[in-house]
């Protein structure tokens, strides 16, 4: 017994040191993320679509992007490259810098590193939707870089308004991992919205610039001449052709964000939601024009067998003639960071769960515009009943019917 007893202090050292060693071995050092990861999946997509090498174009796009948009530690908003005033003030640089970088707060409860605190685990550093926890979520977190948003008040192809982004942050998306940030201050939410717009603009700019590099600037296995080289974006030659192309591209992207408010879908006054309206909605829901039952099933039961994918998945599968279930064909994209293709299923409407919001106005817009990035199509709204579209009143009838399905539960 004595010998065991005396040895205790000597054994205690490894006991104390072991957890530290194990932790270090498992996770390594906490180096700050100094660069945004490039969009390698899209680079492969462009290469496959255009049958052209994109390595060099991707490399230069990354360098150009960093010159214009900065880094995760020091983000920039390239106002000097924008022609519209609305674009220059689209986001606040102070908010971007508050949302980026390490997490901390001060005595007045002002929080910094908001994106790292609230979003990065799912959406990833560059907002690519492939953060550490993304693979275990269904649906996957949104990839901001495509510039496509589901939950908005605007037309299908338009960007969301700031209020739309704030609404999704406040309310979350029930039935998904997207939380409600109601407990977070309005200032912090505004900063997060700015950062999401920034990541989206930056990501879309990366995609379009990469395409332009191959299509317009002549990037192949070698760099084009200096005038068309993307490296000029980081230099002082502001008259170079590449800079001109990049500015045009940036203007087009930011312009869509600036004009988002004008793309809000008008909602006519709601019609009375009585039994008659629900009955008419039932007929329209199962009818030929709206044909909601074609995907959502009879009475919105969601029991139809469908085989479809969202647009984010289709981009690296069906968009380039790759079968989503063909593991071998998908493997290069998975290696580049794409998440496993996963089917998208129409909502079961009898549960009364609406991820993007269930108030009547939102449902009206959802029926009219559909859901961008998904197979959920919109419908044409006309003043008079026709064989191809619905009137506003008929859309309201469908809204009332859909609401009745959820309320029946």
């Amino acid at each position: 017994m004595k010998s065991t007893v005396d040895a205790t202090p000597f054994f205690s050292l490894p006991i104390l040191a072991a957890p530290i060693l194990v932790a270090f071995l498992l996770c390594g050092c906490d180096a700050p993320v100094e660069h945004y990861p490039p969009n390698e999946v899209y680079s492969l997509v462009v290469s496959a679509k255009l049958d052209a090498p994109t390595e060099l174009a991707a490399e230069d796009t990354t360098a150009a992007l960093e010159a214009w948009f900065g880094t995760p530690i020091e983000p920039r908003w390239p106002v000097e490259q924008m022609s519209r005033d609305g674009a220059k003030t689209l986001v606040s640089l102070e908010n971007l810098q508050r949302a980026a970088g390490p997490v901390y707060s001060d005595q007045s409860n002002r929080h910094f590193g908001l994106f790292n605190e609230h979003c990065v685990t799912c959406h990833g550093v560059s907002g690519g939707g492939s953060g550490p926890a993304s693979l275990l979520q269904n649906p996957y977190p949104r990839d901001f870089r495509a510039g496509v948003y589901k939950w908005k008040s605007t037309e299908r192809g338009a960007k969301p308004t700031r209020e739309d982004l704030l609404a999704i942050l406040r309310h979350g998306a029930p039935g998904t991992a997207m939380p409600s940030f109601r407990q977070v201050s309005e200032d912090d939410l505004e900063a997060l919205v700015d950062y999401v717009i920034y990541l989206s603009v930056r990501g879309e700019f990366e995609r379009r610039l990469l395409t332009e590099a191959v299509v317009e600037l002549g990037y192949e296995e070698t760099r084009p001449d200096d005038d068309a080289s993307l490296l000029t974006l980081a230099g002082f030659d502001q008259d170079a052709f590449a800079v001109e192309v990049a500015r045009d591209t940036l203007d087009r992207i930011t312009g869509q964000w600036v004009d988002a408010d004008q793309a809000v879908i008008p909602v006519p006054e709601e019609t009375p939601a009585g039994d008659a309206s629900i009955e008419r909605g039932d007929a329209l829901f199962h009818g030929r024009i709206a044909n909601c039952a074609g995907c959502h099933g009879k009475q919105g039961s969601g029991d139809l067998v469908t085989f479809d994918f969202d647009d984010w998945t289709k981009e690296f599968t069906e968009g380039i003639a790759v079968t989503p279930t063909d593991r071998e064909a998908v493997r290069p994209f998975r290696k580049a960071g794409a998440l496993r293709p996963r089917q998208i299923h129409p909502r079961k409407l009898t549960e009364g769960v609406y991820r993007g919001g269930g108030d009547p106005e939102t449902l009206y817009r959802r029926i009219v515009a559909g859901i961008a990035g998904t197979p959920m199509a919109g419908i044409m709204v006309s003043g008079e009943p026709s064989a191809t579209g619905l009137t506003g009143d008929q859309v309201w009838d469908i809204v009332h019917y859909v609401k009745s399905l959820g309320e029946a539960k």
């Binding site: 017994m1 065991t4 007893v5 005396d6 205790t8 202090p9 205690s12 006991i15 104390l16 957890p19 530290i20 194990v22 932790a23 270090f24 498992l26 996770c27 390594g28 906490d30 993320v33 990861p37 390490p102 997490v103 901390y104 707060s105 001060d106 005595q107 007045s108 409860n109 790292n116 609230h118 685990t121 799912c122 990833g124 550093v125 492939s130 953060g131 550490p132 926890a133 993304s134 693979l135 275990l136 979520q137 269904n138 979350g172 029930p174 039935g175 998904t176 991992a177 997207m178 939380p179 409600s180 940030f181 109601r182 407990q183 977070v184 998440l339 079961k348 549960e351 009364g352 769960v353």
Partner: protein, 336 residues
């Protein structure tokens, strides 16, 4: 001669033990577990950097930071500064334990145990300081992994200084027939300590995940975490049955608690996932999951997550106490 008569004849060493040391050890247990709760809340609320300096608080000495600013200030600052204050109190208790052991503790290894606890508490405080000064998440993770070790050491100290620790020797002397628990039991008692600590480290990996960790790595850690949890749960009843055979309640009781603790911990783990990442697909068959809304920084949600952290420490500490008691039983039975 009856057992009672033997006990009456033998002087009871329990009467000679340091009651003060035991009380201090129990006090340390009662302080460190809440300290782990508060530390867990600090991480849950991302409040680790609510006070940018260390060892002071916004330029003040730790103990002199204005009470009103602390109480009525931001919640993040409240819990971070509170965590530091409670940690300092634990440090004082750890010093008192060493002094009490020096004054009246014959067992050198117990004296060393108190020294180890003091060193561990100081190291843990220093780790917390480094985490703040470097704003480093990895150090935060190590800080989070080391806290349960301190708690387990305090629980072991409380166990070995208790009256029951000595009463068992009397009982063993009296019966003269105790058989040592076998190597299998020792191995089965060691496994929960290792597995529960592995679980803590894996959990910390998920909690302090680095932004560039790949989804595949994260998923693998989650999978190992879940499989190990169920493995540990299956192990606990086996351990309970094995240690129960020696008829010692000080062994079988904590071994029995382990079954409940690990079962409860699995529920808390499920809850932690749900409040962080929503309703998992594998639980879709449950009727109330559809439409579940995750709420960032919700109070109840934070309590569930933090409870998962705290109960993890409790499992490690209970496993450690069971292991120490098994070793004790083997030693006593061999020396009878």
């Amino acid at each position: 001669m009856s057992e009672n008569e033997t006990n009456e004849a033998t002087p009871n060493p329990a009467d000679e033990r340091s009651k003060l040391l035991h009380r201090l050890a129990v006090l340390s247990v009662c302080l460190v577990w809440p300290l782990i709760w508060v530390g867990g809340l600090v991480t849950t609320y991302d409040a680790g950097m609510a006070v940018p300096d260390w060892p002071g608080t916004y330029g003040y000495n730790l103990f002199l930071y204005p009470l009103s600013t602390w109480i009525y200030g931001p919640f993040d600052l409240f819990i971070e500064h509170g965590h530091r204050l409670l940690g300092a109190v634990v440090g004082l208790v750890a010093i008192a334990m060493v002094v009490a052991a020096l004054r009246r503790e014959d067992r050198r290894w117990v004296l060393w145990l108190t020294v180890v606890i003091l060193v561990a508490v100081i190291s843990q405080g220093a780790l917390g300081g480094v985490r703040v000064l470097l704003s480093d998440r990895t150090t935060a993770m190590i800080h989070g992994c080391f806290g349960p070790v301190v708690f387990a050491l305090c629980c072991v100290a409380a166990s070995v200084t208790s009256r029951r620790w000595w009463d068992r020797r009397r009982a063993a002397n009296a019966t003269q027939s105790a058989k040592p628990l076998g190597g299998v039991v020792l191995a089965m008692a060691t496994l929960p300590v290792l597995l529960s600590y592995l679980q803590l480290v894996l959990g910390a990996q998920l909690r302090h995940v680095q932004p560039l960790t790949t989804p595949g790595t994260f998923t693998l850690i989650v999978a190992v975490h879940i499989v190990t949890a169920f493995g540990l749960w299956l192990l606990t009843p086996v351990l309970f049955v094995l240690v129960r055979r020696c008829g010692d309640l000080t062994l079988s009781r904590p071994a029995g608690w382990l079954i409940w603790f690990v079962g409860f911990q699995i529920l808390l783990g499920t809850g932690t996932w749900i409040v962080n990442y929503g309703w998992p697909s594998v639980l879709e068959f449950l009727p109330f999951g559809e439409g579940f809304l995750v709420r960032s920084k919700g109070f109840l949600d934070s309590i569930i997550v933090t409870a998962h952290v705290a109960v993890g420490s409790l499992i490690l500490a209970t496993s450690a106490v069971v292991l120490v008691q098994v070793l004790r039983q083997r030693t006593l039975a061999t020396h009878v």
